[in-house]
Amino acid sequence: MNPFRPWLVLLLLATVPLRGATLPELFQERLKSVVEVEFFIQSEIDRQPVMVLGTVIDDQGTIILPGPSIQPTVAPGQLKEFKVYRAGNTEPTRAEYLGQDAFTGWHFIRVEPKLRGELVPITRWPAMKSAPALSEELWGIGLRGKDEDFLPYFLLSRVATVMKLPQETAICGSDVAGPGLPVFNTAGEFAGLALPSFGQNYLLFSRNQHGNPIMLVNVEESSAVQLAAEVLPYLHRVPETATGRPLPWFGAYGLQPMDPDVAKLLKLENQSGVVLSDIAAGTPAEQAGLRDRDIVLAIDGAPLPRLKPDRVVAGYFGQQLLLHRPGETIHLTVLRGGERREVKVTLGSEPKLVREADRHYFDRLGVTVREFLYADAISMRVAPSEQKGVVAHFLKPGGPAATAGLRPEDWIREIDGTEITGYQQALDLLHAVEVDKERSEVVFLVGRGAETAVIRVKLI
């Protein structure tokens, strides 16, 4: 007998991946955690189909989609006909939209029960205990489009670096998964979720031009992976409402990072900070006594971390706020005029967002008007207490209002010489215009930046 044989068997056992599965086997198994999701965004005049990738997170058929899948201004009511497809299977299953979580940015949907048995949540697989090492091999799944029967494919790469952005993110040397889909190590452990792809800088050379810098973004695959430790603890954040409420409100609209040179000059070596500005009257930040130029150094006793690039700290601070609920109190350590002070801020509830605003489309005019919101007052530089008028939210291309020169985000302050003080009043006036077949025109007074204009819309 060859004395070496038992050793060989042992050696083989040690190198075979967890549970003895090979990569192809793991790939087939993990496919049950990924789906492709189709839905429509209904606008006033058309519907736009959207295809995104999603990951199954529990046994109730809950699926998360990447944040950028849906523009923040799109109202939940505009999202229609969610359909879920499994890898390699063209059979659609309906799903409902649950909302967006503010902290993670994920959109949550829930698929009908009949498909749930076919899906395996990502939590079923073992997760990596620590961040992947530099050069460690990671693999993930990509899914082709509807016309290719959602064919799954295998991607493999190695970790090039791990960064805090502010979430811990592994950047691989090449694309490792479809954005929104899970990534695993060779043992089949969950390593993280692929983020929407980062842009890559290139120079574009053409016959008569020298290299022009351009950025390329791969929309089908990504090399950036948000690590499991940044994903798993937040999977329970299924939105309570379709609009994502409750949402905390701080109320400083300028959050600028303090760069290391500034910190050094202010004798704050090795400290990180966020410079506050654009604090509107009546906001929680203002009521707590915060002022423009205050530098936040710590939140709830924890110093803000040094992150790279510098600007990431502003995002970190904003996200820390989002981990709280309205009514909760946070403790900030701020620097004002060289002096440190502690400030207690009781967070409010975020004023109505664009996606929550009431809106109405007037077909004859070719315009959707929506409520004037707190955020409009901030961007138009008027006192939030002076919220009047309505906002042109959408203009039908070539429609009467667009032809007359009305533009999206124009602030409609008067209609036919009548000052608009409320949304309903504007609707009543415009409705009267729409039904009056004798009407040949309507005159708007609109604000646009610091300018105003009288716009006359000819009706057909």
Binding site: G254, D259, L265, V275, D278, R381, G417, G447, A450
Partner: protein, 451 residues
């Protein structure tokens, strides 16, 4: 339309040489003595000037045309040819002699500048020149024959002929003359006499050689759509520039719109009213309670008629010529009400402030003016706008960018450009890191300028 309008003849008007070389070729065109005299008065202008772009002070050159309008050597040209940033102006007379000249004053609103020849030099070198005569631009009629004299694309001694295509063309541009506003207070002459880059500052003349306009701009890429400042405007403006070096205008902050077809909506009597399209925030009109959508019926008792675009510049001019601080009475129609508003005019200020470069910082800036602050909804006119930064210099390394507004350096609030210059001098004497506070879109950031 405006987007398709390149800055026409602005930046580097090509060569224009005095077309007064006693040209036998022109003689056949049956020119009058007046025309000969005019050609003797046309000059070429070479300007060396400072530019504060990209974080540095740079010298650039420009060439344009001009016309001598008095026997004491006053030359009329375009504001976009000669501005206060000129450091050296040299004029080539019809006799092909070069003489130095100084800027007397400029007025970007009408795109006019006045130079004066160095008369000592003229006397010392025993040079001579002729002054052109003005014609009456109000008497021009559409269809009247006119000539443009200049050096389009460096083609010296070029005369082009055309007609007056329109004698009341409104043309307003908020950035038209070196980034300054232009055209608000006057209508322009439109001609089909070919006007090309290089014609800038040259005269538009009638057949008898009288100057009826100063050629200023053209639609590039269009066929013979050229524009000139009417001589009656040029005459008045040049006179005032010679007397005071600058033109002071009154401002109330009313932005008019055309009432065209809206009379019925506003229930107005025929041919009446000036529509208020906008009111500048914080301006006298705003403080007096004038609101967009109002219709001004009378101004100091004078009935206003602003139905069409070409009717607006004369109305604007009637406000501009009031003494600064003058009282203006407006009768205003708002809905069914008629209101009487009283306000005091302010001095008109350009949105473009003084420019400067702090070379060791690699930073070029422009003072924020009241007008700029209002336009951008800033709290006040504190601060300087970053025009540019030089890569590798402290400002660029600190992260400052074009468009930032620096409001504070060290402990010094930048209310005036001079305060920043003081800080800079101290920095030059003993370079030490400076904390800079700047804002962009009302968001405040801190930077450090490091030696």
């Amino acid at each position: 339309m405006r987007d398709s309008l390149p800055p026409s003849i602005i930046r580097r008007p090509a060569l224009l040489v005095a077309a007064a070389l006693c040209l036998p070729a022109i003689a056949t065109a049956a020119m009058s003595r007046g025309f000969d005299r005019l050609l003797e008065a046309v000059v070429r202008i070479d300007v060396r000037e400072i530019e504060f772009a990209d974080g540095a002070r740079r010298f650039t050159g420009g060439i344009g045309s001009g016309v001598i309008i008095s026997n004491d050597g006053v030359i009329l040209t375009n504001a976009h040819v000669a501005s206060p940033q000129a450091v050296e102006i040299s004029v080539t007379l019809a006799s092909l002699e070069r003489v130095g000249a100084k800027l007397v004053g400029w007025d970007h609103w009408t795109d006019l500048a006045v130079l004066r020849l160095d008369l000592d030099e003229v006397k010392r070198r025993k040079l001579s020149f002729t002054a052109a005569e003005f014609g009456d631009s109000d008497a021009l009629f559409p269809g009247e024959t006119v000539f443009a004299v200049g050096t389009p694309f460096g083609l010296t001694r070029t005369l082009t002929r055309g007609i007056i295509s329109n004698n009341r063309r409104p043309f307003e541009d908020t950035h038209g003359v070196r980034g300054y506003e232009t055209g608000l207070f006057n209508n322009w002459l439109q001609t089909d006499a070919a006007i090309n880059p290089g014609n800038s500052g040259g005269p538009l003349v009638t057949e008898d050689g009288r100057v009826v306009g100063i050629n200023s701009r053209a639609y590039i890429g269009a066929e013979n759509l050229g524009f000139a400042i009417p001589s009656n405007v040029a005459r008045r403006v040049s006179g005032e520039l010679v007397r005071h070096g600058a033109i002071t205008r009154s401002y109330i902050g009313l932005v008019p719109g055309v009432l065209q077809d809206l009379e019925k909506f506003y229930a107005l009597a025929v041919n009446t009213g000036l529509l208020v399209n906008g009111v500048d925030p914080g301006s006298p009109a705003a403080r007096a309670g004038l609101r967009p959508g109002d219709v001004v019926l009378t101004l100091n008792g004078q009935k206003l008629d602003g139905r069409f675009p070409e009717q607006l510049p004369p109305i604007q001019q009637s406000i501009a010529i009031l003494p600064v601080g003058a009282t203006v009475q407006l009768s205003v129609k708002r809905g069914s009400q008629t209101l009487a508003l009283t306000l005091q005019t302010e001095k008109l200020v350009s949105r473009v402030g003084e420019e400067w470069a702090f070379e060791k910082w690699g930073l070029s800036v422009r003072k924020v003016t009241r007008t700029y602050a209002r336009e951008h909804q800033l709290a006040d006119d504190t601060g300087v706008l970053v025009l540019g930064v030089q890569p590798g210099y402290p400002a660029a390394e600190a992260g400052l960018e074009h468009g930032d507004i620096i409001t504070k350096v060290g402990n010094e609030q930048v209310t005036e450009l001079d305060r920043l210059k003081q800080v800079y001098r101290a920095y030059e004497a003993s370079p030490a890191p400076q904390l800079v506070e700047a804002q962009r879109d009302r968001r405040i950031s801190l930077y450090v300028l490091k030696p």
